[in-house]
């Protein structure tokens, strides 16, 4: 005898399992090259456009500068929070 709750859970989990199995089967095959226009563009043009020999740094600080700005903001927020908490702790 299955309660209603268990029955609903079983149905829900079966749907999730079917979705996962199909997405696993339809995944991009491993080791086969995908479209690589962006990679080729960065590899070919990074030295002329940014003047940097290190392509990773040219992506991080030039092509995707907004991402680094967000990272720096995250770090700033974390430091501000920690300093705020522990500075108050010392004076008690």
């Amino acid at each position: 005898m299955m309660s209603k709750r268990n029955l609903a859970a079983a149905v829900f989990l079966s749907i999730i399992a079917v979705i996962f199995i199909f997405s696993a089967l339809l995944m991009h095959p491993f080791g086969v090259l995908d479209a690589s226009d962006m990679d080729d563009y960065v590899i070919e043009n990074t030295q002329e456009e940014t003047g940097a020999n290190n392509g990773v740094t040219s992506v991080v600080f030039d092509y995707r500068g907004f991402d680094t700005l967000g990272e720096a903001t995250v770090l700033f927020t974390a430091v501000a929070g920690v300093v705020m908490i522990f500075r108050r702790l010392k004076h008690d």
Binding site: E48, G51, A52, T57, F61, D62, V82
Partner: protein, 159 residues
């Protein structure tokens, strides 16, 4: 956090300059070799945390105040965003690499292919690396220093 034994302090005093130079090298060569501001800053902050563990938080907080570290971090953040806005002013694009192509400051364009490392390249990337490195050093060391200082009891401190 109290100071550790004399053996540990001596070894740390030897190892600290080496790791410091290594981290600053990673920051300064961020546009040539693997690494950059974040990675080199983490190395330097680890060296400073090593000093903190070995010498104790009381000694360290007498050498450098947490308030100064916060100022350094803010200076790094403002320099980073300021360089991005300078790109908006000089090149009409936010985060534009406006220094590349000139002849005096980081403006040399290397030949395409695997070339020898020339530190006078890459436009604003080294300057941004310095800004982010300063920010990461000051930020991470401020976290560690404030935690160590706040969790030190008064009894332990006045021993």
């Amino acid at each position: 956090m109290t100071e550790m034994s004399k053996i540990v302090r001596t070894i740390v005093a030897i190892a600290f300059p080496v790791s410091m130079i290594y981290g600053l090298y990673i920051i300064a060569h961020g546009h040539l070799t693997p690494g950059g501001g974040f990675q080199g800053g983490a190395v330097v902050a680890s060296a400073c945390a090593m000093i903190l563990v070995a010498f104790g938080s009381k000694w360290t907080i007498n050498k450098i105040k947490e308030k100064n570290l916060s100022v350094f971090e803010s200076v790094g953040a403002v320099a980073f965003i300021g360089l991005a806005f300078l790109g908006l002013i000089f090149g009409a694009i936010f985060f534009n690499n406006f220094l590349v192509g000139n002849d005096y400051l980081f403006g040399v364009i290397p030949a395409v292919g695997s070339t020898l490392a020339d530190i006078n390249t890459a436009g604003v990337l080294p300057l941004m690396n310095f800004a982010v490195g300063l920010k990461v050093i000051a930020g991470l060391f401020a976290i560690v220093l404030v935690m160590a200082h706040a969790t030190t009891s008064y009894k332990e401190e006045n021993k």
